[in-house]
Protein backbone atom coordinates (compact mmCIF):
# COMPACT_ATOMS: atom_id res chain seq x y z
CA UNK A 1 0.00 0.00 0.00
CA UNK A 2 1.34 3.40 -1.01
CA UNK A 3 2.05 5.67 1.95
CA UNK A 4 0.46 9.14 1.76
CA UNK A 5 3.12 10.51 4.10
CA UNK A 6 5.96 9.39 1.85
CA UNK A 7 4.34 10.45 -1.42
CA UNK A 8 5.09 13.71 -3.19
CA UNK A 9 2.38 16.28 -3.81
CA UNK A 10 1.96 15.11 -7.41
CA UNK A 11 1.86 11.44 -6.44
CA UNK A 12 -0.90 12.25 -3.97
CA UNK A 13 -2.91 14.01 -6.65
CA UNK A 14 -2.37 11.12 -9.02
CA UNK A 15 -3.56 8.48 -6.58
CA UNK A 16 -6.19 10.28 -4.52
CA UNK A 17 -7.98 11.56 -7.63
CA UNK A 18 -9.18 9.38 -10.51
CA UNK A 19 -6.19 7.94 -12.37
CA UNK A 20 -4.92 10.20 -15.11
CA UNK A 21 -7.63 12.82 -14.57
CA UNK A 22 -5.57 15.66 -13.08
CA UNK A 23 -5.09 18.62 -15.41
CA UNK A 24 -2.74 21.22 -13.94
CA UNK A 25 -3.24 24.98 -14.21
CA UNK A 26 -0.01 26.89 -14.97
CA UNK A 27 2.21 23.87 -14.50
CA UNK A 28 5.97 23.82 -13.93
CA UNK A 29 6.69 24.19 -17.66
CA UNK A 30 5.67 27.84 -17.33
CA UNK A 31 8.39 28.31 -14.73
CA UNK A 32 6.53 30.85 -12.63
CA UNK A 33 8.91 31.06 -9.68
CA UNK A 34 9.03 33.14 -6.53
CA UNK A 35 10.26 36.68 -7.24
CA UNK A 36 11.76 36.94 -3.74
CA UNK A 37 13.92 33.87 -3.20
CA UNK A 38 16.77 34.62 -5.62
CA UNK A 39 17.98 37.66 -3.69
CA UNK A 40 18.35 35.43 -0.62
CA UNK A 41 20.26 32.86 -2.67
CA UNK A 42 17.54 30.39 -1.83
CA UNK A 43 16.52 27.73 -4.36
CA UNK A 44 13.34 28.18 -6.37
CA UNK A 45 10.86 25.60 -7.67
CA UNK A 46 9.13 25.84 -11.03
CA UNK A 47 5.79 25.27 -9.32
CA UNK A 48 6.65 27.30 -6.18
CA UNK A 49 5.80 24.24 -4.11
CA UNK A 50 2.17 23.70 -5.06
CA UNK A 51 0.26 22.04 -7.90
CA UNK A 52 -3.27 23.21 -8.68
CA UNK A 53 -5.77 22.01 -11.26
CA UNK A 54 -8.94 20.12 -12.03
CA UNK A 55 -9.68 16.42 -12.05
CA UNK A 56 -12.38 13.94 -11.29
CA UNK A 57 -12.91 12.06 -8.04
CA UNK A 58 -15.08 8.98 -8.34
CA UNK A 59 -16.29 10.44 -11.61
CA UNK A 60 -17.26 13.83 -10.14
CA UNK A 61 -15.54 17.00 -11.38
CA UNK A 62 -13.39 18.52 -8.63
CA UNK A 63 -10.68 21.13 -8.26
CA UNK A 64 -7.60 20.16 -6.28
CA UNK A 65 -4.38 21.62 -4.91
CA UNK A 66 -1.46 19.81 -3.31
CA UNK A 67 1.38 21.47 -1.41
CA UNK A 68 4.85 19.94 -1.75
CA UNK A 69 6.44 19.57 1.68
CA UNK A 70 9.79 18.88 0.04
CA UNK A 71 10.07 22.50 -1.10
CA UNK A 72 10.50 24.89 1.82
CA UNK A 73 8.22 22.76 3.97
CA UNK A 74 5.23 23.61 1.79
CA UNK A 75 5.35 27.19 3.04
CA UNK A 76 3.21 29.83 1.37
CA UNK A 77 4.89 32.60 -0.60
CA UNK A 78 3.47 35.15 -3.02
CA UNK A 79 3.17 32.84 -6.05
CA UNK A 80 2.25 29.73 -4.06
CA UNK A 81 -0.58 31.58 -2.33
CA UNK A 82 -1.76 33.20 -5.57
CA UNK A 83 -2.02 29.76 -7.18
CA UNK A 84 -4.30 28.60 -4.38
CA UNK A 85 -6.36 31.80 -4.53
CA UNK A 86 -6.58 31.60 -8.34
CA UNK A 87 -7.81 28.02 -8.15
CA UNK A 88 -10.47 28.94 -5.61
CA UNK A 89 -11.63 31.94 -7.65
CA UNK A 90 -11.80 29.85 -10.81
CA UNK A 91 -13.96 27.36 -8.90
CA UNK A 92 -16.55 30.13 -8.48
CA UNK A 93 -16.92 30.30 -12.26
CA UNK A 94 -16.50 26.66 -13.18
CA UNK A 95 -18.45 25.23 -10.23
CA UNK A 96 -16.84 21.85 -9.59
CA UNK A 97 -18.59 19.47 -7.19
CA UNK A 98 -15.92 20.20 -4.57
CA UNK A 99 -12.47 21.66 -3.96
CA UNK A 100 -9.85 19.43 -2.34
CA UNK A 101 -6.86 20.99 -0.60
CA UNK A 102 -4.05 18.52 0.11
CA UNK A 103 -2.22 20.62 2.68
CA UNK A 104 1.33 20.09 3.83
CA UNK A 105 2.74 23.33 5.10
CA UNK A 106 4.51 25.22 7.85
CA UNK A 107 2.37 28.27 7.05
CA UNK A 108 3.75 31.59 5.89
CA UNK A 109 7.09 31.35 4.04
CA UNK A 110 9.40 33.55 6.10
CA UNK A 111 11.63 34.32 3.13
CA UNK A 112 8.77 36.40 1.76
CA UNK A 113 7.10 37.01 5.06
CA UNK A 114 4.79 39.97 4.49
CA UNK A 115 3.69 38.81 1.04
CA UNK A 116 3.08 35.32 2.42
CA UNK A 117 0.94 36.59 5.28
CA UNK A 118 -1.34 38.57 2.98
CA UNK A 119 -1.43 35.60 0.58
CA UNK A 120 -2.62 33.22 3.31
CA UNK A 121 -5.33 35.71 4.23
CA UNK A 122 -6.41 35.84 0.58
CA UNK A 123 -6.60 32.04 0.52
CA UNK A 124 -8.71 32.10 3.67
CA UNK A 125 -11.20 34.53 2.20
CA UNK A 126 -11.27 32.66 -1.12
CA UNK A 127 -12.08 29.37 0.67
CA UNK A 128 -15.04 31.06 2.34
CA UNK A 129 -16.16 32.55 -0.99
CA UNK A 130 -16.19 29.05 -2.49
CA UNK A 131 -18.24 27.73 0.41
CA UNK A 132 -20.66 30.66 0.07
CA UNK A 133 -21.16 29.62 -3.55
CA UNK A 134 -22.39 26.27 -2.29
CA UNK A 135 -19.25 24.33 -3.19
CA UNK A 136 -17.79 22.26 -0.33
CA UNK A 137 -14.08 22.52 0.48
CA UNK A 138 -12.34 19.43 1.83
CA UNK A 139 -8.87 19.43 3.40
CA UNK A 140 -6.58 16.40 3.59
CA UNK A 141 -3.65 16.44 6.02
CA UNK A 142 -1.15 13.61 6.03
CA UNK A 143 2.31 14.89 5.12
CA UNK A 144 5.33 14.92 7.40
CA UNK A 145 5.25 18.72 7.74
CA UNK A 146 1.65 18.76 8.99
CA UNK A 147 -0.51 21.86 8.51
CA UNK A 148 0.64 24.77 10.65
CA UNK A 149 0.41 28.51 11.03
CA UNK A 150 -2.03 30.42 8.91
CA UNK A 151 -2.74 27.29 6.87
CA UNK A 152 -3.81 25.51 10.07
CA UNK A 153 -6.42 28.26 10.28
CA UNK A 154 -7.34 27.89 6.60
CA UNK A 155 -7.84 24.16 7.18
CA UNK A 156 -10.46 24.89 9.82
CA UNK A 157 -12.25 27.24 7.42
CA UNK A 158 -13.02 24.25 5.18
CA UNK A 159 -16.15 22.12 5.47
CA UNK A 160 -14.25 19.08 6.66
CA UNK A 161 -10.75 17.75 7.36
CA UNK A 162 -9.45 14.23 6.83
CA UNK A 163 -6.26 13.36 8.75
CA UNK A 164 -4.06 10.35 9.20
CA UNK A 165 -2.85 9.52 12.66
CA UNK A 166 0.64 10.63 11.66
CA UNK A 167 -0.69 14.02 10.50
CA UNK A 168 -0.38 17.11 12.65
CA UNK A 169 -2.68 20.12 12.65
CA UNK A 170 -1.90 23.14 14.79
CA UNK A 171 -0.96 26.81 14.84
CA UNK A 172 2.56 27.34 16.23
CA UNK A 173 5.18 24.63 15.90
CA UNK A 174 6.54 23.12 19.13
CA UNK A 175 10.00 24.53 18.38
CA UNK A 176 8.59 28.06 18.18
CA UNK A 177 6.80 27.65 21.51
CA UNK A 178 9.86 26.14 23.15
CA UNK A 179 12.03 28.99 21.85
CA UNK A 180 9.59 31.60 23.15
CA UNK A 181 8.67 30.13 26.52
CA UNK A 182 11.15 27.42 27.40
CA UNK A 183 11.46 23.66 27.28
CA UNK A 184 9.25 23.28 30.36
CA UNK A 185 6.41 24.94 28.41
CA UNK A 186 6.62 22.58 25.43
CA UNK A 187 9.48 20.13 24.94
CA UNK A 188 9.72 19.95 21.15
CA UNK A 189 11.94 16.85 21.36
CA UNK A 190 9.29 14.91 23.29
CA UNK A 191 7.82 13.35 20.15
CA UNK A 192 5.07 11.53 22.04
CA UNK A 193 3.89 14.80 23.62
CA UNK A 194 4.06 16.62 20.29
CA UNK A 195 1.99 13.86 18.71
CA UNK A 196 -0.56 13.75 21.56
CA UNK A 197 -0.98 17.52 21.29
CA UNK A 198 -1.16 18.07 17.53
CA UNK A 199 -1.71 14.61 16.01
CA UNK A 200 -4.67 13.17 14.15
CA UNK A 201 -6.13 11.12 17.00
CA UNK A 202 -6.32 14.09 19.37
CA UNK A 203 -7.86 16.31 16.70
CA UNK A 204 -10.37 13.58 15.88
CA UNK A 205 -11.39 13.18 19.51
CA UNK A 206 -11.80 16.95 19.96
CA UNK A 207 -13.92 17.23 16.81
CA UNK A 208 -11.42 19.32 14.84
CA UNK A 209 -11.20 16.75 12.07
CA UNK A 210 -14.09 14.75 10.70
CA UNK A 211 -12.36 11.59 9.57
CA UNK A 212 -9.17 9.73 10.47
CA UNK A 213 -7.52 7.21 8.19
CA UNK A 214 -4.48 4.96 8.05
CA UNK A 215 -1.48 6.36 6.21
CA UNK A 216 -2.26 5.14 2.71
CA UNK A 217 -3.19 7.12 -0.37
CA UNK A 218 -6.04 4.66 -0.97
CA UNK A 219 -7.49 5.36 2.48
CA UNK A 220 -7.37 9.13 1.90
CA UNK A 221 -9.13 8.64 -1.43
CA UNK A 222 -11.87 6.52 0.10
CA UNK A 223 -12.35 8.98 2.96
CA UNK A 224 -12.46 11.95 0.58
CA UNK A 225 -15.21 10.28 -1.45
CA UNK A 226 -17.18 9.31 1.65
CA UNK A 227 -16.77 12.70 3.34
CA UNK A 228 -17.88 14.59 0.23
CA UNK A 229 -20.93 12.34 -0.04
CA UNK A 230 -21.78 13.12 3.59
CA UNK A 231 -21.21 16.86 3.07
CA UNK A 232 -23.54 16.81 0.08
CA UNK A 233 -26.47 16.42 2.46
CA UNK A 234 -25.91 19.81 4.14
CA UNK A 235 -25.21 23.39 3.12
CA UNK A 236 -21.60 24.27 2.22
CA UNK A 237 -21.90 27.93 3.26
CA UNK A 238 -21.44 29.42 6.71
CA UNK A 239 -24.57 30.18 8.70
CA UNK A 240 -25.33 31.87 12.00
CA UNK A 241 -26.68 28.61 13.39
CA UNK A 242 -23.65 26.57 12.37
CA UNK A 243 -21.27 29.16 13.82
CA UNK A 244 -23.29 29.30 17.05
CA UNK A 245 -22.93 25.52 17.33
CA UNK A 246 -19.20 25.78 16.71
CA UNK A 247 -19.00 28.57 19.26
CA UNK A 248 -20.73 26.45 21.88
CA UNK A 249 -18.39 23.53 21.14
CA UNK A 250 -15.29 25.71 21.48
CA UNK A 251 -16.55 27.39 24.67
CA UNK A 252 -17.37 24.03 26.23
CA UNK A 253 -13.91 22.78 25.30
CA UNK A 254 -12.26 25.53 27.36
CA UNK A 255 -14.66 24.96 30.25
CA UNK A 256 -14.10 21.20 30.37
CA UNK A 257 -10.46 20.89 29.42
CA UNK A 258 -8.91 24.32 29.98
CA UNK A 259 -7.32 23.38 33.29
CA UNK A 260 -5.76 20.17 31.99
CA UNK A 261 -2.06 19.81 31.25
CA UNK A 262 -1.89 16.91 28.85
CA UNK A 263 -4.16 15.60 26.08
CA UNK A 264 -4.17 12.26 27.91
CA UNK A 265 -6.27 13.89 30.65
CA UNK A 266 -8.72 15.11 28.02
CA UNK A 267 -9.07 11.64 26.54
CA UNK A 268 -9.71 10.26 30.04
CA UNK A 269 -12.28 12.98 30.74
CA UNK A 270 -14.03 12.11 27.48
CA UNK A 271 -14.38 8.54 28.75
CA UNK A 272 -12.17 6.95 26.12
CA UNK A 273 -11.39 3.46 27.49
CA UNK A 274 -7.71 2.95 28.44
CA UNK A 275 -6.65 6.41 27.22
CA UNK A 276 -2.96 5.63 27.75
CA UNK A 277 -3.29 2.97 25.05
CA UNK A 278 -4.72 5.37 22.44
CA UNK A 279 -1.34 6.01 20.78
CA UNK A 280 -0.90 2.27 20.26
CA UNK A 281 -4.26 1.53 18.65
CA UNK A 282 -4.61 0.71 14.97
CA UNK A 283 -6.97 3.13 13.23
CA UNK A 284 -9.98 0.80 13.07
CA UNK A 285 -9.68 -0.07 16.75
CA UNK A 286 -9.16 3.59 17.59
CA UNK A 287 -12.26 4.69 15.66
CA UNK A 288 -14.28 2.02 17.46
CA UNK A 289 -12.93 3.11 20.85
CA UNK A 290 -13.54 6.80 20.06
CA UNK A 291 -17.02 6.38 18.59
CA UNK A 292 -19.07 6.94 21.72
CA UNK A 293 -16.79 9.63 23.12
CA UNK A 294 -15.52 11.97 20.44
CA UNK A 295 -16.86 15.50 20.20
CA UNK A 296 -18.04 17.63 17.30
CA UNK A 297 -20.10 16.97 14.22
CA UNK A 298 -19.02 14.33 11.76
Amino acid sequence: MRSYLESTARERLQHVLDAGSFEEFIGPAQRIVSPHLAQLNAPVAFDDGVAVGRATLDGQPVFAAAQEGGFMGGAVGEVHGAKLTGLLRRALAERPAAVLLLLETGGVRLHEANAGLIAVSEVMRAVLDVREAGIPVLVLVGGSNGAFGGMGIVARCANAIVMSEEARLAMSGPEVIETANGVEEFDSRDRALVWRTTGGKHRYLLGDCQAIVPDTVAAFRAAAIATLAALGAGPAALSVDALEREHAMLAERIARFGAMRDPLEIWRALGVPAPERVPLLEIDAFIAAAAAHRLGES
Binding site: V79, C157, D208
Partner: protein, 244 residues
Amino acid sequence: MDWTTLADALFPLGHRITEHAQFLSGTADVAGPDGAPAATIAVIGTTGHAPIGVEIALAQARAVLDTVRAHPRRAILLLVDTQGQRLRHRDEMLGINSYMAHLGKCVDLARRNGHAIVGLVYDQALSGGFITSGLMADACYALPAATIRVMGLPAMARITKVPEDVLTELAKSNPVFAPGPENYLRMGGLQAIWDGDLAQHVAQALHAAPSGDARAALGWQRGGRKLAQPVIDAIAGDGHVQTA
Protein backbone atom coordinates in the same frame (compact mmCIF):
# COMPACT_ATOMS: atom_id res chain seq x y z
CA MET B 1 -0.70 53.45 22.17
CA ASP B 2 -3.32 53.92 24.88
CA TRP B 3 -6.65 52.77 23.45
CA THR B 4 -8.65 55.43 25.28
CA THR B 5 -6.61 58.18 23.59
CA LEU B 6 -7.25 56.48 20.28
CA ALA B 7 -10.98 56.07 20.95
CA ASP B 8 -11.32 59.76 21.88
CA ALA B 9 -9.65 60.75 18.60
CA LEU B 10 -11.71 58.32 16.52
CA PHE B 11 -15.04 59.05 18.14
CA PRO B 12 -15.49 62.72 19.16
CA LEU B 13 -19.27 62.10 19.13
CA GLY B 14 -18.88 59.55 21.90
CA HIS B 15 -18.16 55.89 22.54
CA ARG B 16 -18.99 53.15 25.03
CA ILE B 17 -15.97 50.88 24.73
CA THR B 18 -14.70 48.87 27.68
CA GLU B 19 -11.62 46.73 28.27
CA HIS B 20 -11.68 43.31 29.89
CA ALA B 21 -8.29 41.58 30.08
CA GLN B 22 -6.96 43.19 26.87
CA PHE B 23 -10.24 42.57 25.03
CA LEU B 24 -12.03 45.68 23.78
CA SER B 25 -15.72 45.81 22.95
CA GLY B 26 -18.54 48.30 22.82
CA THR B 27 -20.17 50.81 20.55
CA ALA B 28 -19.34 54.23 19.19
CA ASP B 29 -21.02 57.04 17.32
CA VAL B 30 -19.68 57.96 13.92
CA ALA B 31 -20.73 60.87 11.74
CA GLY B 32 -22.64 59.97 8.62
CA PRO B 33 -21.38 60.93 5.15
CA ASP B 34 -22.11 64.47 3.96
CA GLY B 35 -23.97 65.62 7.03
CA ALA B 36 -26.16 62.51 7.35
CA PRO B 37 -27.09 61.60 10.93
CA ALA B 38 -24.54 59.83 13.08
CA ALA B 39 -24.63 56.05 13.19
CA THR B 40 -23.82 53.62 15.98
CA ILE B 41 -21.09 51.14 15.14
CA ALA B 42 -19.69 48.10 16.94
CA VAL B 43 -16.07 48.26 18.09
CA ILE B 44 -14.22 44.99 18.76
CA GLY B 45 -10.53 44.47 19.31
CA THR B 46 -7.53 43.99 21.54
CA THR B 47 -5.04 46.19 23.34
CA GLY B 48 -1.71 46.06 25.16
CA HIS B 49 -0.08 43.94 22.43
CA ALA B 50 -2.46 41.15 23.44
CA PRO B 51 -1.31 37.60 22.80
CA ILE B 52 -4.26 35.93 21.06
CA GLY B 53 -5.10 32.82 23.02
CA VAL B 54 -8.23 30.71 22.84
CA GLU B 55 -10.22 32.90 25.26
CA ILE B 56 -9.66 36.24 23.58
CA ALA B 57 -10.23 34.77 20.12
CA LEU B 58 -13.54 33.36 21.33
CA ALA B 59 -14.49 36.65 23.05
CA GLN B 60 -14.00 38.56 19.82
CA ALA B 61 -16.02 35.95 17.91
CA ARG B 62 -18.82 36.26 20.48
CA ALA B 63 -18.92 40.03 20.03
CA VAL B 64 -19.11 39.66 16.24
CA LEU B 65 -21.87 37.03 16.44
CA ASP B 66 -23.84 39.15 18.92
CA THR B 67 -23.64 42.12 16.55
CA VAL B 68 -24.86 39.99 13.65
CA ARG B 69 -27.80 38.65 15.67
CA ALA B 70 -28.88 41.81 17.49
CA HIS B 71 -27.95 44.64 15.14
CA PRO B 72 -28.39 43.77 11.47
CA ARG B 73 -26.06 45.67 9.13
CA ARG B 74 -24.37 47.59 11.96
CA ALA B 75 -20.83 48.44 10.85
CA ILE B 76 -17.94 46.85 12.75
CA LEU B 77 -14.54 48.41 13.46
CA LEU B 78 -11.82 45.92 14.42
CA LEU B 79 -9.07 47.54 16.51
CA VAL B 80 -5.80 45.63 16.18
CA ASP B 81 -2.98 45.58 18.73
CA THR B 82 -1.51 42.11 19.15
CA GLN B 83 1.80 40.35 19.51
CA GLY B 84 0.34 37.40 17.57
CA GLN B 85 -1.05 34.06 18.65
CA ARG B 86 -0.28 33.02 22.22
CA LEU B 87 2.69 30.65 22.25
CA ARG B 88 1.58 28.12 24.86
CA HIS B 89 1.21 24.35 24.89
CA ARG B 90 -2.27 24.70 26.38
CA ASP B 91 -3.51 26.77 23.43
CA GLU B 92 -2.20 24.20 20.96
CA MET B 93 -3.68 21.33 22.97
CA LEU B 94 -7.08 23.02 22.84
CA GLY B 95 -6.70 23.63 19.09
CA ILE B 96 -6.08 27.39 18.88
CA ASN B 97 -6.20 27.24 15.08
CA SER B 98 -9.85 26.26 15.41
CA TYR B 99 -10.55 29.27 17.65
CA MET B 100 -8.81 31.64 15.26
CA ALA B 101 -10.59 30.12 12.26
CA HIS B 102 -13.86 30.52 14.14
CA LEU B 103 -13.16 34.22 14.64
CA GLY B 104 -12.30 34.62 10.97
CA LYS B 105 -15.47 32.81 9.92
CA CYS B 106 -17.61 34.99 12.20
CA VAL B 107 -16.14 38.14 10.62
CA ASP B 108 -16.78 36.64 7.18
CA LEU B 109 -20.36 35.81 8.12
CA ALA B 110 -20.90 39.40 9.28
CA ARG B 111 -19.59 40.70 5.97
CA ARG B 112 -21.98 38.46 4.04
CA ASN B 113 -24.84 39.65 6.21
CA GLY B 114 -24.27 43.24 5.14
CA HIS B 115 -22.05 44.54 7.94
CA ALA B 116 -19.30 46.85 6.70
CA ILE B 117 -16.07 45.68 8.34
CA VAL B 118 -13.08 47.96 8.76
CA GLY B 119 -9.81 47.05 10.47
CA LEU B 120 -7.39 49.51 12.07
CA VAL B 121 -3.89 48.57 13.19
CA TYR B 122 -3.35 51.28 15.80
CA ASP B 123 -0.24 49.83 17.41
CA GLN B 124 1.14 46.39 16.58
CA ALA B 125 0.00 43.54 14.37
CA LEU B 126 1.71 40.18 14.13
CA SER B 127 0.99 37.11 12.03
CA GLY B 128 -1.71 34.92 13.56
CA GLY B 129 -3.29 37.73 15.53
CA PHE B 130 -3.66 39.82 12.39
CA ILE B 131 -4.79 37.21 9.89
CA THR B 132 -8.13 36.56 11.59
CA SER B 133 -8.89 40.20 12.46
CA GLY B 134 -7.66 43.16 10.40
CA LEU B 135 -6.84 41.01 7.39
CA MET B 136 -10.41 39.64 7.37
CA ALA B 137 -11.92 43.13 7.12
CA ASP B 138 -13.30 44.61 3.90
CA ALA B 139 -10.48 47.09 4.19
CA CYS B 140 -7.68 47.40 6.73
CA TYR B 141 -5.96 50.65 7.68
CA ALA B 142 -3.06 51.56 9.95
CA LEU B 143 -1.69 54.51 11.85
CA PRO B 144 1.70 55.74 10.59
CA ALA B 145 3.60 54.50 13.66
CA ALA B 146 2.06 51.01 13.57
CA THR B 147 4.24 47.92 13.37
CA ILE B 148 3.08 45.05 11.17
CA ARG B 149 5.08 41.91 10.64
CA VAL B 150 5.24 38.15 10.66
CA MET B 151 8.23 38.00 13.00
CA GLY B 152 11.25 40.11 13.87
CA LEU B 153 14.29 40.14 11.57
CA PRO B 154 16.60 38.39 14.11
CA ALA B 155 14.20 35.42 14.42
CA MET B 156 13.66 35.44 10.68
CA ALA B 157 17.41 35.32 10.14
CA ARG B 158 17.71 32.27 12.41
CA ILE B 159 14.96 30.34 10.65
CA THR B 160 15.79 31.27 7.05
CA LYS B 161 19.56 31.02 7.72
CA VAL B 162 20.02 34.31 5.91
CA PRO B 163 22.34 36.69 7.82
CA GLU B 164 20.48 39.42 9.68
CA ASP B 165 22.52 42.22 8.07
CA VAL B 166 21.55 40.90 4.63
CA LEU B 167 17.88 40.91 5.63
CA THR B 168 18.22 44.39 7.11
CA GLU B 169 19.72 45.67 3.88
CA LEU B 170 17.09 43.95 1.73
CA ALA B 171 14.33 45.31 3.94
CA LYS B 172 15.25 48.82 2.83
CA SER B 173 14.30 48.14 -0.78
CA ASN B 174 11.94 45.17 -0.60
CA PRO B 175 8.61 45.42 1.18
CA VAL B 176 8.38 41.69 1.83
CA PHE B 177 10.81 41.74 4.75
CA ALA B 178 10.46 44.96 6.66
CA PRO B 179 7.88 45.77 9.33
CA GLY B 180 5.93 48.94 8.95
CA PRO B 181 2.64 49.93 7.41
CA GLU B 182 4.06 51.41 4.20
CA ASN B 183 5.24 47.96 3.13
CA TYR B 184 1.82 46.43 3.71
CA LEU B 185 0.34 49.37 1.85
CA ARG B 186 2.53 48.66 -1.19
CA MET B 187 1.58 44.99 -1.12
CA GLY B 188 -2.13 45.74 -0.95
CA GLY B 189 -2.57 44.43 2.60
CA LEU B 190 -3.58 47.90 3.75
CA GLN B 191 -6.05 50.15 2.00
CA ALA B 192 -4.42 53.34 3.33
CA ILE B 193 -2.44 54.83 6.21
CA TRP B 194 -4.37 57.31 8.32
CA ASP B 195 -2.80 60.68 9.05
CA GLY B 196 -4.60 63.69 10.46
CA ASP B 197 -8.28 63.65 11.40
CA LEU B 198 -9.00 60.09 12.52
CA ALA B 199 -12.72 60.73 13.03
CA GLN B 200 -13.06 61.74 9.41
CA HIS B 201 -11.03 58.76 8.23
CA VAL B 202 -13.13 56.22 10.12
CA ALA B 203 -16.39 57.76 8.95
CA GLN B 204 -15.27 57.67 5.33
CA ALA B 205 -13.87 54.14 5.59
CA LEU B 206 -17.07 52.73 7.05
CA HIS B 207 -19.09 54.42 4.36
CA ALA B 208 -16.88 53.27 1.50
CA ALA B 209 -15.90 49.75 2.55
CA PRO B 210 -15.00 47.90 -0.67
CA SER B 211 -16.76 44.70 -1.62
CA GLY B 212 -14.67 41.74 -2.68
CA ASP B 213 -11.01 41.04 -2.04
CA ALA B 214 -8.97 43.39 -4.26
CA ARG B 215 -5.73 43.22 -2.27
CA ALA B 216 -3.73 41.35 -4.92
CA ALA B 217 -4.82 43.91 -7.53
CA LEU B 218 -3.82 46.75 -5.19
CA GLY B 219 -0.47 45.09 -4.56
CA TRP B 220 0.13 44.91 -8.30
CA GLN B 221 -0.87 48.53 -8.91
CA ARG B 222 1.37 49.72 -6.09
CA GLY B 223 4.31 47.56 -7.14
CA GLY B 224 4.64 45.64 -3.87
CA ARG B 225 3.43 42.28 -5.18
CA LYS B 226 4.06 42.05 -8.88
CA LEU B 227 3.15 38.39 -9.39
CA ALA B 228 0.15 37.61 -7.19
CA GLN B 229 -2.53 39.19 -9.38
CA PRO B 230 -1.04 37.97 -12.71
CA VAL B 231 -0.93 34.41 -11.32
CA ILE B 232 -4.52 34.63 -10.06
CA ASP B 233 -5.63 36.01 -13.43
CA ALA B 234 -3.76 33.33 -15.36
CA ILE B 235 -5.44 30.55 -13.42
CA ALA B 236 -8.86 32.14 -13.51
CA GLY B 237 -8.49 32.65 -17.28
CA ASP B 238 -6.66 29.37 -17.97
CA GLY B 239 -3.98 31.39 -19.72
CA HIS B 240 -0.37 32.23 -19.20
CA VAL B 241 1.10 34.54 -16.63
CA GLN B 242 1.58 38.04 -17.99
CA THR B 243 4.40 39.64 -16.07
CA ALA B 244 5.10 42.54 -18.41
